[in-house]
């Protein structure tokens, strides 16, 4: 399986299964797993990263699809590409994740960039991350002889980080069978990094609204109080009725402000410019949150 090193004596391994991959990872300390490489190669080219060895995950076909569990959970392979998540069959399952995948970049990037890579890179503006936070997704981490599940948000915040020798294999997402929205603002029409994004999912079974704001902080933020407040403003029983108004428009506006207030701190501490920047970001988040809930309840 090993290929001879090139000029700088680098090793590239191409395991065909998760077991082979975790074995390789255990056997080669300092090896870096790589899937789409859209973030990794940028770091390598810029000289920020010189991995001792690479473990290519592209041949592990089981991780490139998804399966169902217990009727209410989708188990997504870490190797799912953004392009695959954007397809209609996936979009019918988890619409917000499909929306996030669609806006994540130009087609060349979406064709190779993966869900697992998005989590592992944990960039503040990673588009799928607020959706996973809103869905309260959990990640399966495999290592030689052991497997454990960790909430994705714990991985992202570093509360429970990836340990040496662990490989991100699966992402568990609840199937909610209700509207979900992902909105992002980047100031342009073409693909771009989000200035702010909002993911919002409805959970009618539990009469809950879950929301996460991306790109405004190092990790997606959950406005928990705003979520529980707005869940009480929704006329859940009227769902499905023709022409029903599920929420007072004033509550939509208030929800936007509530979310923005919770996720973007008051600026000003770093001078006037920072204050103005923060005010703009709050406005943007407020608009996105208001529109997201409005669309979900339409």
């Amino acid at each position: 399986m090993e290929h001879g090193g090139n000029l700088v004596n680098r090793t590239i391994m191409l395991p065909a299964s998760v077991d082979e991959a975790v074995e390789a990872l255990a056997a080669t300390p300092g090896a870096v797993p790589v899937a789409g490489a859209t973030d990794l190669m940028e770091a390598v080219n810029a000289g920020r990263l010189r991995p001792a060895a690479l473990i290519g995950l592209g041949r592990i076909t089981e991780l490139r699809g998804w399966r169902y569990e217990d009727g209410g959970t989708a188990v997504l392979g870490a190797g799912l590409t953004h392009a695959r998540m954007d397809r209609p069959d996936f979009a019918a399952l988890i619409p917000a994740l499909a929306d996030a995948a669609r806006t994540a970049g130009p087609p060349q990037v979406r064709n190779v960039g993966t869900l697992g890579g998005n989590i592992a890179t944990a960039a503040p503006a990673g588009d799928t991350l607020p959706v996973l936070a809103a869905l309260e997704a959990t990640a399966t981490l495999a290592r030689a002889g052991a497997v454990r599940d960790v909430p994705v948000s714990h991985l992202l915040t570093g509360l429970d980080p990836l340990r040496p020798g662990e490989l991100l294999t699966w992402v568990r997402v609840p199937l909610l069978h209700a509207p979900q929205v992902f909105l992002k603002s980047s100031g342009r029409s073409g693909p771009a990094r989000a200035a702010a994004s909002v993911a919002l999912v409805l959970d009618p079974a539990r009469r809950g609204v879950r929301c996460a704001v991306g790109a405004v902080a190092p990790v997606p933020l959950r406005p928990l109080e705003a979520e529980s407040w707005v869940a009480g403003c929704i006329d859940w029983d009227a769902r499905g009725a023709e022409g029903a108004v599920l929420i007072d428009p004033a509550a939509l506006v208030a929800f936007g402000e509530y979310v923005a207030g919770a996720c973007v701190p008051e600026g000003g501490a770093h001078g006037e410019g920072a204050g103005a920047d923060a005010a703009r970001l709050r406005r943007t988040v407020a608009v996105l949150a208001r529109r997201a809930l409005g669309r979900a309840l339409k």
């Binding site: 700088v8 806006t103 603002s185 980047s186 342009r188 029409s189 703009r280 608009v287 996105l288």
Partner: protein, 773 residues
């Protein structure tokens, strides 16, 4: 086009008419290879046994170089040479000065000597047997810097300590004409800012230097000015120009100058030092540091107008940030001053303009330098007047429009066609794009793009107009000349002209000219190198004029040689013969001979020059003078949708009416207009190379946002006005620069119309287009 001539051997004929020659639209020969990805760019060059070059650049925008220790780099196995300023010929006082050079003023060292004046300035260079080794070696060179306070605010440059022995003021140009005390019924004022646009060429800088047995060097790169670059490179190296040969290859298309002098000289020096071919390709991040950008500008305007909106007086102060080195700042400033009022007449104009030196990235040539910045300002001012008086924005422009024969504020009469009113009329009649309400079935792309956050309820549509102008050819007394040779051998012709086709389509045009004049269908365009006669740089629409003119003259001389014996046989003068569809016919129809028959077994050639009428410098006290050869005009209407809550702007449609003199290749003109509009829309909404303390913060294609297909509007041509410029060859005007100049102003006007906000800076950021509830 050098290697591309191999592909479709002769240009395919125009699909609709089946004819070739002027006025038809044959395809560019490099279009197909470039689209297929098989076009050889300079980065693809290869030579047996080549070494790789790498450059060490300054991490500081302003610092004194205390010492440079190259020993660690030389100690790395595989490193063949390390060069610094000390390896270049010394300055007048015998100490290394980095061999300063420049297109106008020789103030920019090839390698920094003693002081660095901008972030990314080259300090040393390495040749090694592997690109990684070269880069690692460059990084291992120990440079001790004494960091100095950078001057990054152009307004502070006036009083800051001199950053260069030449001082910080690159040029001050006042313009005074008319009555300074004139006052109008209304006065509008504005402060306008233009950001730093980068040319961001699709191919990053690359080249190959090969040492010659005579101690000289051969440079293979995408130069846009082969002779100028050869002479400057030779001067920097201290060798005779004859010993530098520059071969133009793999030009990826350029809206600015290509490989800068430092790149060329360093490459040549490494080849001379090692005696081996040396190849150097810049990374994208380096490319942003290496080439010059558009001049950021600060413009303060005060317009006086009468009750009908006719301009009474214009006062302006214009400040261009030239960055660390002079480059073409003086020329950009002349353009900014002369066109400070725009294509309008105004009897009283008072302008002060400065280009200053700072520690910011150097600014240089880029489509409509100087003219673009003022176009945004004067068009914004006209919109303000229109709004104050309640006059339609098209009408206010019509009332002030310049016509042929009217004077510029510099006193020069505009003798070329100036069809400004006709351009406005053409726009006025053009249909508007449908509103989403009219066509609910259509897939309405909202601001923010597909899958974005756009909400139809928050979207406002705005329509804006702008008119602008640029000059063609060098200004203020610059000697403009080009030489071309046309050779006919049997059934095919060859054009030898050192005019580089940097995407403007010169190769296609030269082929069309020869086809038209000689009736020969197979025309080859020879690859360009500096052994040919000089044709000058590819800039300011020069080559359509001077090189196109030279090709035509040479072709006409060959035509005369070809027809003379035939005319003599028939006892008539050459003037009575015409060439049409590859056939020579006489005025009386007696003769009808195919061109191929007339040329059989014959070898004919002629060399000709084209030199337009001379110009003069602008007066340093009053800004008066006949500084320009000719001027091109363009009017544009932009339609935008703005999400006023998020400030997202989408340009829906741009409709263009342009003064082209004569459409020599209509499809190529439309392509050039589309490209220029895309670049203008980029500057209007996205592109800005931001700096913090003189250090660029978004020098990558992720951070520097170029317009994608989704950001680029539908571009529609309302009219290509063909009023021939009698002094120009074929009566044609250059087409590429002026749409790029006008588009930002038109988009800004449309955003203003949609939002009611003032919009005083480019690019227009979301916060500039957000309407607060």
């Amino acid at each position: 086009m050098t290697s591309a001539t191999e592909l479709p051997a002769a240009a395919p004929a125009d699909h609709e008419t089946g004819t070739t020659g002027l006025g038809t639209s044959p395809l560019r020969t490099d279009a197909l290879p470039k689209a297929l990805g098989i076009y050889p760019y300079a980065a693809d060059l290869w030579a047996e046994g080549l070494l790789w070059g790498a450059v060490l650049r300054s991490p500081h925008p302003h610092a004194r170089i205390v010492s440079v220790n190259t020993a660690p780099a030389l100690a790395i196995p595989g490193v063949h040479a390390v060069v610094t300023a000390a390896d270049l010929p010394p300055g007048p006082d015998g100490t290394p000065d980095g061999a300063p050079a420049g297109t106008v003023t020789a103030d920019r060292p090839v390698l920094a000597a003693g002081v660095v004046r901008h972030h990314g300035e080259p300090v040393a260079a390495v040749a090694a047997d592997h690109p990684d080794t070269a880069r690692l070696a460059a990084a291992s060179i120990l440079v001790e810097y004494e960091v100095l306070e950078p001057v990054t605010d152009p307004e502070a440059a006036f009083h800051a300590p001199p950053l260069h022995p030449d001082g910080n003021l690159l040029r001050h140009l006042p313009l005074r004409t008319g009555d300074p005390d004139a006052v109008g019924e209304i006065v509008v004022e504005g402060l306008y800012q233009v950001g730093r646009q980068d040319p961001a060429p699709i191919g990053a800088e690359a080249g190959l230097a090969v040492p010659r047995p005579d101690g000289g060097v051969e440079l293979h790169l995408s130069s846009t000015d082969p002779h100028g670059d050869r002479d400057r490179t030779a001067a920097c190296l201290g060798i005779d120009p004859d010993r530098v040969r520059l071969v133009v290859t793999g030009v990826p298309g350029a809206s600015s100058d290509r490989e800068d002098l430092s790149f060329q000289v360093t490459l040549a020096l490494l080849a001379l030092r090692t005696g081996r071919p040396v190849k150097m390709t810049l990374t994208r991040a380096e490319s942003f540091q290496a080439h010059t950008t558009r001049h950021p500008a600060l413009l303060r305007y005060r317009h006086h107008a009468d009750a009908e909106g006719r301009l009474v007086k214009v006062e302006a102060q214009i400040l261009l940030d030239g960055g660390a080195y002079a480059d073409v700042s003086a020329e950009a400033l002349a353009s900014a001053v002369a066109f400070s009022v725009g294509p309008y007449t105004c009897p009283n104009v008072f302008v002060d303009a400065w280009a200053v030196r700072t520690n910011n990235p150097p600014a240089g040539r880029m489509r409509g330098e100087g003219a673009l910045q003022t176009c945004f300002a004067y068009e914004s001012q006209l919109d303000q007047i229109a709004r104050q008086l309640g006059v339609d924005p098209v009408e206010i422009r019509r009332r002030n429009a310049m016509a042929t024969g009217d004077p510029l504020p510099t006193g020069q009469a505009v003798t070329c066609p100036a069809p400004v009113a006709a351009l406005l009329d053409a726009l006025d009649g053009a249909p508007l794009p449908a509103l989403p309400l009219d066509d609910p079935e259509a897939d309405w792309l909202l601001p923010g793009g597909p899958g974005g956050a756009g909400d139809p309820a928050a979207v406002r549509r705005g329509i804006g107009y702008a008119v602008g102008m640029v000059h063609m050819l060098g200004a203020e007394g610059e000697d403009e000349v080009s030489t071309a040779t046309v050779r006919v051998s049997g059934d095919h012709a060859t054009v030898i002209c050192a005019a580089v086709d940097s995407g403007q389509g010169f190769a296609t045009l030269a082929r069309q000219i020869v086809q038209s004049v000689l009736g020969v269908s197979e025309v080859y365009i020879a690859p360009v190198d500096s052994d040919q006669s000089a044709a000058g740089p590819s800039a300011r629409g020069r080559h359509t004029w001077v090189s196109g003119g030279a090709v035509e003259r040479a072709a006409l001389m060959v035509r005369h040689q070809m027809l003379q014996p035939i005319a003599a046989d028939f006892g008539m003068s050459v003037e009575l013969l015409t060439i049409n569809d590859g056939k020579i016919t006489s005025y009386d129809g007696v003769l009808g001979m195919p061109v191929s028959e007339a040329l059989e077994g014959r070898e004919l050639w002629a060399t000709a020059q084209c030199r337009p009428h001379p110009t003069e410098p602008l007066d340093p006290e009053t800004g008066q003078g006949d500084a320009f050869v000719s001027i091109a005009f363009c009017a544009m209407r932009a339609v935008v949708d703005v999400d006023i809550e998020l400030g997202a702007v989408r340009v829906v449609d741009v409709t263009v009416a342009q003064d082209v003199g004569r459409a020599l290749n209509p499809r190529q003109i439309e392509d050039r207009i589309e490209g220029a509009v895309a670049q203008g829309v980029g500057l209007a909404l996205l592109e800005n190379l931001r700096t913090e303390g003189g250090v660029p913060v978004n020098a990558s294609l992720t951070g520097y946002r170029l317009p994608t297909a989704l950001d680029t509007p539908d571009v529609r041509i309302a009219a290509l006005l063909e009023e021939r410029d009698v002094v120009a060859p074929f009566g044609a005007k250059a087409v590429s620069a002026v749409p790029a100049v006008v588009a930002p102003a038109a988009v800004a006007a449309a955003v203003r119309a949609a939002t009611g906000l003032p919009v005083g800076r480019l690019p227009i950021l979301p916060e500039d287009a957000t309407v607060l509830a």
